[in-house]
Amino acid sequence: MTGSSKLKLAGATIGLAAIIGLSWVFLTASVDPGPPAITNFDALDVAVSARIRKLITGVENSPRDAVRRGKLGMAYQANNVRQAALTSFQQAILLDSSEPKWWYYLAVTRSQLGDIDGAISALDEVISRNDQYVPVHWRRGQLLKAQGDWDMAEKAFRRALEINPNEPAALVGMTQIKLQKKNPREALTYLKQLMRILPNQPFLYQLLGQTYQQAGMHEKARLALARGKPDKPQWKDAWLIELDQYRVGFSAQFKKALRLIDAGQLPQAIALLESLRKQRPNDVTLLNNLGAAYIETGNFSTAIRRLEDALVDHPNHFGTHLNLSSAHEKLGQFDRALLHVEWAIRYNPTLARAHLIHGKLLMNMDRSDEAIVAFALAQKFDAYDIQSLVLSGQIECLRQRWAEALPFYEKAIERDSTDVEAFCGLALASMELGQLDKAQQALEKAKRLNPNDPFYLQVKRRFDNLRR
């Protein structure tokens, strides 16, 4: 090597060293920014605030640790602090772009903040790292569908179905895409598959109704839509469930308890609610739900204690009165039950459910006329309530007032043509009035709906006897 060459090499080395030094400074500045902290910690539950502060400290102690930044993002996201979650996930990705979850959470956060193109591109990053995680495909499909890009959305849903042919979210997506493309026949194919996987889901009847409407089958559409009551489909997404673990605080725990109740896990729900009761012993909503859970488990005396505690600060809380009514009824204390349901109605006179409970109670107390009045009020305040009609019909049948029973059943069927009990009641009242053809038609419909229904079998036997 010549002297000149050595000089050049030295110069180059120094130059590179300078670049490296500068880049070090630059990189340090870029990936070591402080963790995003919100300005208003007071707006957070104490437990949420404590959790986030702890995670922030962790990030400050190890600023190059992508996992810590990702977890901070999860805590922000789970507790609805979205801008800070966004920044945290971005910082985690800068430190370690190989983790698909950070991209996934980034996508979810971006979509919530309205950055849909950004969300889709983050989902693409997930797919490039883990193509087998099904929710990434249907989530991508949902975003593309919401953008009105039917073809790309369909492609995404198809990919999800390639991995799991029975993935409900993707099947729903495909159904909706087919409807947008005015292809009700194909929509129906996906719907039938869905109905096998998720039987009796109200939202599927809503989709079915839309499909029939588009196909011009309006009568079928009406019947389906009558069953398509409001529903919020929930799709399984393991990564989001993982994120959910970061939801802390009273409110989050309370919601968790309600989910446990919905899932029928009553002992776990009660344990959680009892622990929350120690934090907020006078919370009427908590105590009311706790009381309701105890009723479900048959522990009526504890239920009554909790519910009466709820009324101490909130004597007008109609929901608590309704639950107290239910608990007393189970204990055979009808007068007390009646008193509480009447209080509930006084505080919320248009609550259909209260009138229905009132009617049932009166029915059990053999106060038939009053029960029918209560059921009429339940009907008045909830046009979609079928039970009050069927029960009114039952009362009239028990009194052998067949002609009076008929219109209740007919109205119930008009509202919901899938109610077996209404068809059976109609058949019974009709046959007793000598209208055997009408009875037979009703029985045939009941059989089509559920040939093993005990009420159907009973009425059918009576009908066969009469025919003989």
């Binding site: 208003n40 602090v81 109704g209 409001p230």
Partner: protein, 571 residues
Amino acid sequence: MVSRSLSLIAVITSTFIVTLLCLLGTGCNNHQPDNSASNRESSQTNAPWFVEVARSSGLVFDQHSGHEVQYLMPEMSCSGGALFDMDGDGDLDVYLVQSGSLTSKENPGGGNRLFRNNGDGDFEDVTEGSGTDDRGYGMGVAAGDYDNDGDVDLYVTNVGPDVLLRNEGNGHFIDVTLAAGLGDPSWGSSAGFIDYDADGDLDLFLLNYMNWSIENELECYNAHGTLDYCGPTNYNAAARDTLYRNNGDGTFTDVTTAAGFDAAFGYGLGVAYGDFNSDGHLDIFVSNDSVMNQLWISQGDGTFKDEALFRGCALDESGMAKAGMGIHASDVDDDGDLDVLLVNLLDEADSFYRNEGDYFADQTAAWGMGLASRPFTRFGVGLVDFDNNGYLDVYQSNGGVAMSSESPTDDPFAQENMLFRGAENGRFSEVLPRGGTSNRLIHTSRAAVFGDINNDGAVDILVVNRDGPVYLLKNIVKDRGNWIRFRVIEEHGRDALGATVTLKLGSRNIRREVQSTYSYLAANDPRVHIGLGDHDTVSAVKVHWLDGTTELFGNFEAGQTIVLERSKGTN
């Protein structure tokens, strides 16, 4: 050694360059989160469409929710306003409803306010002595000439007894609530005058939000886990809406039960009228918060049936009941029937229903409204052609109902409003800067009221903000298209609310409604404004009156307001 050093340097250098490129966002999209917040379909214009001029125009009004410590549900609803021609001088005056206090008889906001438009862009507070300063806890307002005397009267909804203010024609109003048989004591929200029985006088439809009292108030927690306002379903106390028939003698009769409105309850916030099934009778669409919407289809005999579920507009395409707030019905796709836009809560898309004749199809995504507004809670809404290009645009006034820890202002509910431009391809795209103003306006917006305040052929917007000043958004769209406006009146001079104007615009058939009741808690300019784009004339202008008759009013040149008076056209 040197060669190893060089290799190391080369590796480090290349790593650095790649990293640098990454950080600059140019070289490795696979590893760099893209921070772009732009929506694919944002209208990439930076020219503002509106400038905020409330205070400089003399429109000084701060809304007061009365919030102190306890979170009382009505405080969240805010209050609305009306753009109406109080004095018959041809320009729009302003009436603003004040909320006040639910716990004290003193109204910290000083009651409702009336502002006269001086015709030169300035407003004058003429409340004093006008008889309009109702001090109830105010919500919405309806405007219409219920007594057919040629001037516009007001009906104010309150948490507590509502008020009917009869316009005496000289800037004075008289509270005739009791004499008229009105004064619903529950929590009224939106209301509007409607001649539902087509008998020539205006009846009144009133939404009641829920059965609420301060004694029954609950404690609820938001997603952050802190105390906040409850959602309506926490109360399980949906209310019945009310229909009053105008008896023609200054009094009204409650016909709610007889008309069938007992059949379904809801948490009604927005209402729009129109003939949704094209059978010649006015129907009523109610936007409900968190439960199914209602579409009350007139049976033609004074009764109504809720057919929303069967017609596919009670729920969204996934079967979910959204938190419906404001609503506007208009023929968006020029096919001659009324489509409907409802706006909803944070994380829920809007609900844009296309009328397919027998049913409604959820076209929110297809029309480009599937995503952009989801980070906001929208209340006021209008389908209005602001740039006069011939296609309806959308304005939404937004504000949260649960506290955010990340609000850009001291107000934890504050959000920006949004503006979308309609185009020939049938899709809407967001106009930037957000909300159409060059200055960022961030408050907890609720009611948006639409009308051409300065009669310059461009529709302006009045926005009422919770615990904040109102916005008066003056339309300054550059290079607006041509326009024409119709004031459609019955023989005695009353705006023919519910009538329809159709006309030919090139190959398109345009249909617009004579309507004041839409958006949220609002009474809007009832004049029919139509953007014409490059067209400088319109032909075949036809009015479809409520009684089923039609009249033709010939061809008109653009750029003027035409009065279409009943019996003055040709059959």
